[in-house]
Assembly symmetry: C2
Homo-oligomer: 215 residues x 2
């Protein structure tokens, strides 16, 4: 019974996601769903990307948070269109929330749209939104064992961004174990090492991202 209800919810979500995808495609908006634990660096990644690509691409951002509009304010300072979704306790974004947000986005004026999901390594993995790519930000201080503990999320990742590598000298993080775990769960996922606050490795991320947009 519970499983049937869940299936119906996910089925309805998928239908809405397909509609979102059609809307995004018809406007030529390449869309990336950014997921991670709280504080892994989703907002920093988006801010770095905006700063580097602002002259080349028109970027928009949809910020998903349980509460507050801190991230939307930070992104808004970069002068790009941004919409805040507050889930009011909800643990993930869904396609319906995205549909409502897209209705308020100037899609004709956007080439690249980031959706910053709610900080949570579990629930957002189950809800497709209509995005073209999903990226998971995995922060080095969280430890190398996270892929084994949250396999569903890492299985969704087109790219895993290993963030905060500037902290590696101070942590007991086993890079080989981390790579091995991701290869075991999602062999096709691109792994990109970077530090969004210092800028190290951000070029690799931009190369991957812009290559995906050209496909």
């Amino acid at each position: 019974m519970e499983i049937k209800v869940l299936r119906n919810i996910l089925g309805a979500n998928e239908q809405l996601a397909n509609k979102n995808r059609e809307l995004l495609d018809s406007n030529g908006v390449f869309t990336v769903n950014v997921m991670s634990s709280p504080g892994a660096g989703k907002t920093s990644l988006i801010l770095q990307t905006i700063k580097r690509l602002k002259g080349e691409l028109r970027i928009g951002v949809i910020e998903g948070d349980v509460s507050s509009s801190l991230d939307a304010e930070a992104v808004g300072k970069e002068g790009v269109p941004v919409i805040q979704i507050n889930t009011d306790g909800g643990c993930h974004l869904d396609a319906n929330m995205l549909q409502n947000a897209l209705a308020n986005m100037p899609l004709a004026d956007i080439d690249l749209l980031f959706i910053e999901n709610v900080g949570n390594l579990i629930c957002p993995a189950d809800f497709v939104l209509g995005e073209h790519k999903k990226v998971v930000v995995a922060s080095v201080p969280e430890g190398h064992d996270k892929p084994y503990k949250y396999p569903r999320m890492f299985n969704e990742a087109d790219a895993v961004l290993m963030n905060k590598i500037d902290l590696l000298p101070y942590l007991d993080f086993n890079r080989e174990e981390f790579y091995r775990a991701i290869k075991a769960i999602k062999g096709s996922a691109e792994i990109i090492e970077l530090a969004c606050t210092t800028g190290q490795g951000v070029e690799d991320w931009l190369d991957w991202l812009t290559a995906q947009m050209k496909k």
Copy 2:
């Protein structure tokens, strides 16, 4: 309709939690529900506590994880009774899961029981388990703004453990902002600064914990 269903679920959970609490009380088991983001240091906290208090108190651990038994294996090496709950995708522990785990715990031989919840700053906040105290581990690399973003979780905290303070020199973490946020959300929460991997500040945590047990 959805809200009513949720209320019924939470109501049923609370009834079971009360039964768990009675069982724990009748066995004299002081129980702490440890919650945090993925990788904030829940297991390290529990390991440090076991190492320091092993001679004084009989400790047991219930490990909640979406997947894997890595934490239970690490804790088991310390020679304490440990039970792993795998939620198989579920984003929180509930009182029913705890009831099942308690049935397999040697409660008569335990003074202090840790429940390590699923790594998630959202959903576990809604589910009381029957514990005596709730502590939230907030890791410094996650940033000082987390209480504003996840207020429901911080509002549940009897103590907030500001972990990984050994990384403060390398991070843009505003301690005053962090304290201000917690005071605004849960003025009564104890804030304890520590680094579970180096041991710094762990004494403060043990002082607080053992004081709660004597109350």
